[in-house]
Symmetry: C2
Subunit: 243 residues, 2 copies
């Protein structure tokens, strides 16, 4: 029974990973797509994969997690990326780069991503699980921004809102790419979506050498100067130091 073999399928790069994990994922997707998620039991999966039932839960803590096998690694990658020189670069640019990391992970396995998309779109339980995965990315971006915005007034608010906007922009670009069947270029829509976010929060570089500031009367002068500095610093929105 435990005979190996059978279905050993490489999903792109020849990784020195345990083959059993891949076998479980392959079998699960085959069954989920053919007969549905709820209609597939763990026993069905392990029977098709040729492994023991107990082994399934050794690799995946829950039935839903088998659909998102690579997010833990991506989360770790993002942690590492944001941990490199955390105070360098404009904060919003840093989280945009972090979001691009996620898109890249999807783009590495286009057909796997498209199959998963079709699945999560129509299975509420998988959608819910995807939400909690996305939430972890968003929290990580927000935590990073909170540290960067610590000396700003309402820094936490700004951090939460910007993180949510970046994630929403990423999701918008990702979904349109997935809906196209992963045929077009993913990064183009992503760049456009992130550009919208950056210009919304005053982090975009101006197209020409003119900057326009609109302010209400009564706004404290230091806020005005802050906005001007962030707008004229060639896209770097970092707050003034030493405050």
């Amino acid at each position: 029974m435990s005979d190996t073999r059978g279905r050993r399928q490489e999903t792109g790069n020849g990784a020195p990973k345990p083959p059993m994990r891949e076998a479980i994922v392959e079998a699960a997707f085959e069954l989920f797509l053919s007969r549905g998620f709820e209609q597939t039991t763990i026993d069905d999966i392990v029977t098709l994969a040729g492994v023991g039932r107990r082994s399934f839960f050794r690799y995946f803590p829950a039935k839903e997690t088998v659909v998102f096998p690579d997010h833990e690694r991506c989360l770790a990658d993002m942690t590492r990326l944001l941990g490199i020189d955390p105070d360098e670069g404009a904060p919003v640019d840093r989280v945009c780069d972090a979001a691009r990391l996620v898109l890249r992970m999807y783009a590495e396995n286009p057909d796997f991503s498209v199959r998963r998309y079709r699945l999560t779109k129509q299975v509420p339980g998988l959608r819910a699980h995807e939400l909690s995965v996305v939430w972890r990315y968003e929290r990580m971006l927000a935590e990073y921004l909170r540290a960067r915005f610590a000396n700003r007034p309402d820094g936490a608010l700004r951090a939460d809102v910007v993180a949510a906007a970046v994630v929403a922009a990423h999701n918008n670009a990702l979904r349109s790419w997935l809906r196209s069947g992963a045929t077009v270029d993913a990064t183009a829509a992503m760049d456009e979506a992130l550009a919208f976010v950056r210009e919304s929060f005053g982090c975009a570089e101006a197209p020409d050498d003119v900057v326009v500031v609109v302010s209400r009367r009564g706004v404290p002068m230091w806020r005005v100067v802050q906005e001007i500095e962030s707008a004229t610093a060639a896209g770097s929105g970092s707050p003034p130091e030493g405050n």
Copy 2:
């Protein structure tokens, strides 16, 4: 809903016409808070509430849903609110009002909301379920905005990002209110958070007392400040520190 009255019903079916739903919620919270969510079984809840096990699942489709008993009604309220004269008012203002509706629901039962907050904060399963609830609000706001932005270029992107930003601002204000133990005023932080979102997406008011400054890049900052000061002569607070 959160009023503590009529706690456990008699085990026998001699209840006059009791709100069984309320009894289940009350019993569930009592047990969840005292011994924990995972440590409480459905049997514990229905025994304390004095109802049959089958009745629990008649009112709540899953164990987690008993913690969010009023969101279905609030979702319906929001649907109705956005459906009234959908094309009236500024789109962002409309979704901000919709978000205020949710905050108001929380504020109607402060101690219930605080108890729930302490629960969801430390139970991953409840956090995941809350995410799917919030997602439904966000989708509703996004769908509304997509309709309003249908003729704009990138209307769908703008709709998704603005909806996410509004939800994030709402959550930020809501959480700081809940963290305070519901002692302060909830609407003040909410208004400030939503104001930030509105000004980020170019929807801030200030139709009359507005000053516009146009400057070429490279102009020294002191010149810009000089111009602004002369234009805003009424002006302003003081900069943060002597920096």
